[in-house]
Each structure stands twice: as C-alpha cells, then as structure tokens.
Amino acid sequence: MPKAALKALEPIQVYSILEPDGSVDSELEPDLPDDKLQAMYRAMLLARRFDERLLNLQRQGRLGTFAPVTGQEAAQIGSIAAVDQDDWMAPSFRETAAAVWRGTPLDGLFIFIAGYNEGQAIPEDQNDLPICVPVGSQLPHAVGMAYALKVKRSDRLVITYFGDGATSEGDFHEALNFAGVFETPTIFMCQNNQWAISVPREKQTRAQSLAQKAAAYGFPGVKVDGNDVLAVYRATSEAVQRAREESLPTLIECETYRMGVHTTADDPTVYRDEEEVEEWRERDPLDRFRKYLKSRDLLSDDHHETLEEEVKNEIEEAWQSAQDQIEGFDDPTVIFDHMFQDPTKPIADQREAFEQAAKKEKTNG
C-alpha cells in the first residue's frame, strides 16, 4: 500500500452555456450589453466571409497560402472580446477573427497573404504581435511579456493563441512552467480544433483533456465548448480576473473544429471523414449565436441581410485598397529594410550592390 496519496488533479471545469438550438443556461449566461453581443456577432460574420473571399482569391492564384479560421470564430471572438483593448495578444497563424476584433486592417491582411512584408505591420496603438508561424513558439514570448508587465506594475495581461498540436511542442511546456514559476498574468488559449494537419487530437496525447496539462504546472486549466461563444466569454472572463487580481495564468481548452483545410496547401479528405465534418456543422458557432440573438430580439432577418451587405462591402473595399497599395510597391530594395535599427556595413553594401544590379538589368533588359 502506498504510504500517502497526492491529490494531483483537481476536477476540470467544463463550460457550456449555449446549446446548438440557441437555448441558453440562464444561470451562467454572461451579462453582456446588447451592442457588444451584436459587435461580437458582426466580427464572427466578417471573419467567416473574409475567409471565404481569401479562399476564393487563393484558388484564383491571386493570394498565397493561408490558414482558414472557419469553425473557430466563437473560440476566438468569445475570448478576445473578454480582454481589454489595452491587453496584449500573441497569436499563432490562424487568428484572423481575433485580429479583426482587435482592429487589424483587412487590407493589411490581404497584403500579407499576397506575400508582402508590409502586410505584417501592426498599427502602432494595437498591442498585438504579428503572426507567428513556428507552432507554439510564441508561448514563451507571452510569458516574458506578462513578466515585463508585472515588473512595470501594470494590471494588463497577455493572451496567447495556439492549437492542439502545439501542446506537444516543448515550448508549450516550458512556457506553462515559466508562467507557473514566475506567476505571470498569461492566458493560454488553446483552440483544440481536433486536427494538426492530418494528425488527430488523440495522437497528440494520451491525456483525457488538454486542459488538465495545466495541473502539472500548478495553475488552473478549464475546458470549454469552443463553438459556444458565451461559454468561451465566461471562461475567459474568469481567467482575466485571475490574471488581474492574483497575477496567475490559466490554460483554456476550447473544443472546436477546423471546418476547412489546415492551410490552402492541404486536402483534408485524405485523412478525415466527411461525416465528422457534418456532425460539427450541426454545432456551427455562427448559427448557434444567431439563434440566440434572434431569441433576444437583437438580430432580425432584415438586420442580418444588412450586416451581410456591409461586411461584403468592407471586404471588397479592403481588397481594392490592398491591390492599389501593392501596385505602388515599386522599390525592390525594401527587402533590406528593418534588419537592424541602423543597417550594418554588410547590409548597406549589399543593398547598394542589389540596387546597381537591378538598374543594370533594367538598362540591359
């Protein structure tokens, strides 16, 4: 017999408020102003329509590879709407919905996906990091940023986004461990969309949940129906409170689904059944939220049509603006920009050599 037993794992809280039919658990329903709920829905709709337009332009060969967000709008908007605009965000590469909420200009996103660095410029007053491609590697940054906020005696926090695949990376574990040891105000927002390209969630870990991994690092982990925008909002609000009042991190696992491709270079029919996709379609985050808003008289059919029109125009205007800007990108030497604050001698020399070569090519061309 063991001499003593450690109670290692607290029960994992599971949040679910809004049912697929639009009915709601009124005890847990967050008390949100009407205009905020409407703004959240609009952002989700904008993200979805933007995704569709991106895919369409990518298939025409006018944009490069990108990672669609469709299916994950509630996980992103429910969480980002629960932090303040002054808080900080460290995204991965699939956070279009969260980025739109924060104010990232759509034309910039188009320019980025068209393959120009200029599209990665984040507006000066927006506290977001640029897109991070290597999976999970932004998590330690979020911890260091939160530590810096703590050192500055700020009450701001950092929210970082990643997927189920990232929880297998060393940086996930190192970041959570540092966050626990140094008690940083960091929210680790895991969008478990069930698939890391072709590898299903159960092949990432034998653990019953991803949320429980927080227990090993000494802070709470919770699990949420990630297609339920109200539940995500509530779970995040509690994590925000923990960060601000106790300077402690939280891991949130949002169970959601990547409805489309991993990126536009991927074909999911090779590795997953359409039936599974259909099951998740029944739980669509936008449908569910729309039913809820209708039941509260916050979104009429007419209003919805107007919204669709508005969103469409916003996207088309941004695409036009992106194309106009790209047409103006006529200085090829900008590839040497921003390597250092002041260019080093080798960079300056090489820029000059490139410029000379470009001129010669033009003359000889």
Binding site: N117, Q120, P130, G144, F178, M339, F340
Partner: protein, 327 residues
Amino acid sequence: MAEGLTMVEALNLALAEEMRRDEKVLVMGEDVGVDGGIFRITKGLIDEFGEERVMDTPLAESGIIGTAIGMAFMGLRPVPEIQFSGFSYFAFHQIEGHAARMRWRSRGKYTVPMVVRMPYGGGVRALEHHSESREAYYAHTPGLRTVIPSGPRNACGLLKAAIRDPDPVIFLEPKAIYRAFREEVPEGQEPHALDQASVVREGSDLTVVAYGAMLHRALEAVQRLEDEDGATCDVIDLLTIAPLDYQTVEASVRKTGRAVVVTEAPLSYGPAAEIAARIGEGAFLKLEAPINRVTGWDIHMPFFSREQSYLPSVDRIVMAARETLSF
C-alpha cells in the same frame, strides 16, 4: 592582491554598472542568482538588484530565451545566460526564428534588445558539449550580432555596448581565458563599438587575424616569428565577428600582401572561410601568397585529454605563417 580584473570580474562589473545605469536591464538563467552563475559572472548581482532583476530560472534553454524575447518586446533589456554554448541549440529556434527576425517581421514595431551570454570554446578540460566553437551558426544568421571578446577590458566595453544595442547580440565568452590574466579595467569603462576590429600589433610582412582565446596563441606565434625569423606582423583582433569589419582586415592585407586566419571553429564553412573570401575580394591584387587558415579540424571536439590536438597550437600557427611568408 594582483592588479586589475580577470575577464570574469570585468564582465561582472559591466553587468553591475549597466544594471545601475538602466533599470530595464535584467539577468536571467540557470544558477545566475544565489549561486552567481557557474563561472561567477553574475556573482553578487542578486544582493544588489533583487530576484526580480536577477532571475534564477527553470532548467530550460528555450524557455529562458523565449521568455527573454517577450520581455524585450516590452522594452526590457534582458541578458540571459546559457550555461555553455553547447546547450544553446535547445533555444536555437527562438534565436533564429524570433530574436533575429522580430524587428524585420513587425516592420520595426517590436525589437529584441537582448544579449545572450554564453561561455564557448575549449581549453578547460570539460565534458562533451562544453568546449565547442560554433560561432558560425550565429554569425551566419541574418539579424544577429556575434561578439567575442579577447580580454578583460574589451569584454567589459563590448558587453556594455551589447546591452545598449537596440538589436539582439550573441555574446560568446572564451572561457579558456576567463581567469587567464588580469587587465586594468576602469570603473565607468566606455562601451566598445560592435563593428570595429582592433589592430593589436603592427608589422609589415604578414597579417594574422584572430579572436577570442586564439588571439593569445596568435600573439605568441607572432612574437616567435619576430624573434626567430625577424618577420613582423599585423595582428587583428576581430572582437565582433558579425558584422565582420572587413575594411580593417582588407586594409592590413593590402599592406602586407599575406594573411593567416586563426580560429578554434572547424575549418569548413567556418568564420575563417568568410574572412579568407573577404580578403580574396578586397585585396586580391596585393596578395603574394595563398591565404592560410589555421583552425580546428572538421571533427567533434575530442574528450578533454586530447582537446589540445584539436585546437590550433602556437606551433601550427608559426608553421602556417612560415609557409605563407616563404611562398
């Protein structure tokens, strides 16, 4: 007590003075707090600056560097220590993927004013992974500066400049000479520019380029050449290997017409190859002999009883120099 400071003491002085000057500077790493670092570079700092700015971290290199990068985005100036350069590869993706790139990726919005300090190189009879010279990994990476001091005074000035630099600096400390000799290092020592090699000895027959611990073997070899052969040499201490101050190197070789490059790093694709190529491009018409490279071999650093067989010896440098002088 002997006059002056060792490199260990000079680095400690630089850290303390920078932390007093700028409250945004902080040090972090394994054993850097209470223990003062395994080489004692951070000794006493925790007493003066407290554990918020002198952080004993969990044992995780990627966590250390990744967290430091996040701090740097927010305007702090972290100086993380990696215990031995051989363990820095755990954090290589953070250095290559983020520290070196974030200014560029974010179009100047986020920067990484971070100095990664790490002891490197052989000569201290250590275990496997504790003695390599792989500065080429860092020097080859766009967006980084790679600095290697050769003595207490320049170590102090270079570390100060690295801490004040707005971009990431890889600061490799040649541990073989951590305590090998003392030099006068004044309090308030001025920073040493991060793009300037130093001509430490002047002559007319040959240019010898070296840095770090190898500078001292090069100087010993050059003294022998003067004593035994009557040949005089320019000796260039690079101090910063990226960006390389090739103007100083080329100017010297245009004068002497001959060059020997000495590094601990393995031969192929190493820093000596880049230096030789620069000499070829910038001083070709003045060259009177092929450029000679005296470097580590393209093998793993042998276990310590044989490490001197790997490292360039004074004899090897003298032989190479004679070959070049008599070509």
